[in-house]
Amino acid sequence: MLIRLNPSSGVPIYLQIVEQIRHSIEIGALVEGDQLPAIRTLAEELVVSPNTVVKAYDELEQEGLIRLRHGAGAYVEKGNRAKPRLRRFREASVVVKETVRKLRSMGFSDDESRRLFEAEWIEEAARR
């Protein structure tokens, strides 16, 4: 499993781990029954606090994506909701691809587009 962290991005490290494992499951790089690295192993590999890995695994378990078996490690959950999501994920990625292409053709840099997205979500959240 390949996880790349950016500690200075301001995004909590446990969330970066959660997002990348979730993404691996959604694109099929991890399939049901696959074993995830032990907490200690992943912490050592990424050189992050073991608490951070614990937090990430807890979050993934709550989402129903993995199952933690006490003393036996973490496994990608059988029949997890990633499967039906896999198709919807592909559909969504088509929408995103089109939007990104459109923004580029309008002359926006990727960084500008990203900021536009973020501003939109924040404004959306503020309206609610």
């Binding site: 301001g10 995004v11 909590p12 490290i13 969330l15 200690r40 606090s49 073991p50 924040i122 404004e123």
Partner: protein, 295 residues
């Protein structure tokens, strides 16, 4: 369970100046805690008081629930200092063999593993080791003890990037075995990478304290662009740390009411709203500036 360290209104005066000016902090157990501060901010002074190497001027300090410096507590903690003083006439092999019997909790597996991880030359005298090698040897002597609580003062000082990574990885291994780790540093990047809790100090006082994830969740920078910027006071509210006007842009650092601030922008005529997450470096620099502005 009692915290690993608790201090209240700790002060230390050297002559006419205060190295510590009312330091109140809590180091929680079971965490890797980064103690961040500039050179001369009071990190080493704090650590020396916790170890009872120097006396505090006033205030309270407990370590593992006992008064700082009591003999029974000193047995339970490991310490790697800035100067890494070691017996220079011994070889690496000799100093390890000499240190081992002092500690009943010494683990030979850890010794074997770290000797190979750290690539220490067993037959070299300590006096000829580089600074980095000396740090790694000092670290090995501490880590093999598996103490409950390990304090390190600037452990990465003088280490190259590869050695720093090895050092940090060995701290992660130790934390996985249940040791609470408290390390001082002025390197934001390494603190941000392995710490899950941080305490930042400036001029002998705490300016930022808490779970790093929590701080990352909390703080946002909101940039608002106006044709005609309103006065910065318009954004003063709870949770707003700093408001900076730069030309047409008003930049707001806030830990609460982010949505409210972002929504207020357009109401006051902002034509663009950007919300950014804030890294520890930026947060630390802002907090230092805020401290200088208010003091």
């Amino acid at each position: 369970m009692k915290a690993a360290v608790e201090t209240r209104d700790l002060t230390k005066r050297f002559g006419n100046s205060y190295a510590l000016a009312g330091l109140t902090m809590t180091v929680p157990r079971g965490h890797i805690v980064g103690f961040l501060g500039r050179n001369g901010s009071g990190k080493t002074t704090t650590i020396k008081i916790l170890l009872d190497v120097i006396r505090r001027t006033s205030g309270e300090a407990t370590v593992l629930g006992e008064p700082a410096g009591s003999v029974s507590v000193r047995r339970r903690i490991g310490f790697l200092g800035e100067d890494k003083r070691l017996y220079s006439y011994m070889t690496v092999r000799e100093i390890i063999a000499f240190t081992r019997p002092f500690f009943p909790t010494w683990r030979v597996e850890t010794e074997t593993r770290l000797l190979s991880d750290f690539e220490l030359p067993l037959n070299h005298k300590v006096s000829v080791l580089s600074k980095g090698m000396r740090t790694k040897l000092g670290l090995l002597l501490n880590l093999c003890r598996h103490s409950e609580f390990l304090i390190l003062d600037e452990p990465s000082e003088g280490l190259d990037p590869v050695m720093t990574e090895q050092m940090l990885r060995s701290l992660v291994q130790q934390a996985a075995d249940g040791t609470t780790i408290f390390f001082s540093s002025h390197q934001v990047a390494e603190v941000e990478q392995i710490a899950d809790h941080i305490i930042a100090i400036e001029k002998g006082r705490v300016i930022l304290e808490g779970s790093l994830d929590h701080l990352r969740h909390e703080f946002r920078r909101v940039n608002l662009v106006f044709d005609d910027p309103p006065p910065p006071e318009a954004f003063r509210r709870e949770g707003v740390d700093r408001v900076i006007v730069q030309g047409r842009t008003i930049s707001i650092l806030a830990s609460r009411n982010i949505d409210e601030i972002a929504a207020l922008g357009p109401l006051l005529g902002a034509k663009a709203v950007d919300v950014h997450s804030v890294g520890l470096k930026e947060l630390f620099l802002e907090k230092v500036k805020e401290d200088h502005a208010t003091s």
